[in-house]
């Protein structure tokens, strides 16, 4: 997708829906939360496309995704009867889908658990880099922090991850 044209909502869903789902799943460890987040992000994308001015599409999309995620966390914080993403470790338990999907989830369970142990800022930086595949500059644009801070968060996140995994 080029930066000089505005994609349609269908193109966004087709090209990015899976990555948004994986981003949300790796941040929350919960299929239902990931499901809700993708729906919310696509809704916001649909509303926002009309006013989108072509600059960095990925930066725009991931800012929306991140804001939707943080809004959801804040919303749940106001309603403590619902578990926070960090408190929900039912990895794969509620995940619908084919057997092979469940098997892959089980294989990555230890890594997923270690990711969920990281403080949010570090987890987010690691997931955006190593799961979504954004560059440091794209992460900086999406999160709204300097590239140097992105580098630091990714590095510290990886070190913490390694300590937890042994």
């Amino acid at each position: 997708m080029t930066d000089d044209s505005t994609p349609s909502w269908e193109e966004v869903a087709r090209h990015h829906g899976r990555k948004i789902y994986n981003f949300a799943y790796r941040l929350t460890g919960n299929a239902d939360d990931a499901h809700d987040l993708v729906q919310e992000v696509l809704l916001r994308v649909r509303r926002g496309l009309s006013s989108y001015t072509p600059t960095s599409f990925d930066g725009w999309l991931w800012r929306i995704t991140r804001n939707a995620f943080l809004d959801e966390v804040r919303r749940r914080n106001r309603r403590p009867t619902m578990p926070l993403p960090e408190d929900d470790r039912g990895i794969g338990a509620a995940a619908p889908g084919p057997e092979e999907v469940l098997a892959s989830i089980r294989l990555g369970e230890d890594v997923q658990r270690a990711l969920l142990d990281l403080p949010y800022d570090f987890r987010e930086a690691v997931v955006l880099c190593d799961v979504v595949g954004l560059s440091y500059e794209e992460i900086a644009g999406a999160v709204g922090i300097p590239v140097g801070t992105v580098r630091s968060r990714i590095h510290r996140g990886r070190k913490m991850l390694k300590e937890r995994l042994g």
């Binding site: 269908e10 869903a13 087709r14 829906g17 899976r18 789902y21 994986n22 799943y25 790796r26 299929a31 990931a34 499901h35 993708v38 729906q39 696509l42 995940a95 619908p96 889908g97 084919p98 999907v101 892959s104 989830i105 294989l107 990555g108 890594v111 997923q112 990711l115 690691v126 997931v127 880099c129 190593d130 799961v131 560059s135 440091y136 580098r151 630091s152 990714i154 590095h155 510290r156 990886r158 070190k159 991850l161 390694k162 995994l165």
Partner: protein, 128 residues
């Protein structure tokens, strides 16, 4: 000696420019502590990248996204237009110059064909 710290992650991720990369590699050649740290973060980076890419649950993405888009080509438009015209009997073939249409006769022939009733002639009063 200053250790590389987060420069190591940037090096792994291909985020360093030529000069900075050269300096980092020269440092690594001489610093065992940084080589050890590099191997640790490389391992952490590897396991996260090896996590399976999960398929979103069925129905999450609108199904119409998966359907082929129909494009109205000129050929399609012509075909549809002709079909509609035929359905409403609007197609008129070329006639002989000066040929006159006897509308009553044409109507009767049409009714006879549609109804398939040989007795239509009786209706017309042509019976012997």
């Amino acid at each position: 000696m200053n250790h590389l710290g987060d420069v190591l992650s940037a090096l792994l991720d291909g985020e360093l420019g030529g000069t900075e990369r050269g300096e980092a590699e020269r440092h690594l050649a001489e610093c065992e502590a940084c080589r050890l740290e590099l191997s640790l973060i490389e391992s952490a980076r590897g396991v996260v990248r090896a996590l399976p890419s999960l398929e979103p649950p069925p129905g999450l993405l609108p199904t119409r996204l998966r359907r082929r888009r129909w494009v109205l080509s000129p050929a399609w438009i012509t075909t549809v237009a002709v079909a509609v015209a035929l359905a409403f009997g609007l197609v008129v073939g070329p006639g002989e110059p000066g040929e006159a249409f006897e509308m009553d006769t044409l109507n009767e022939q049409h009714i006879a064909r549609v109804v398939g009733d040989p007795g239509i002639a009786t209706f017309r009063g042509d019976s012997p």
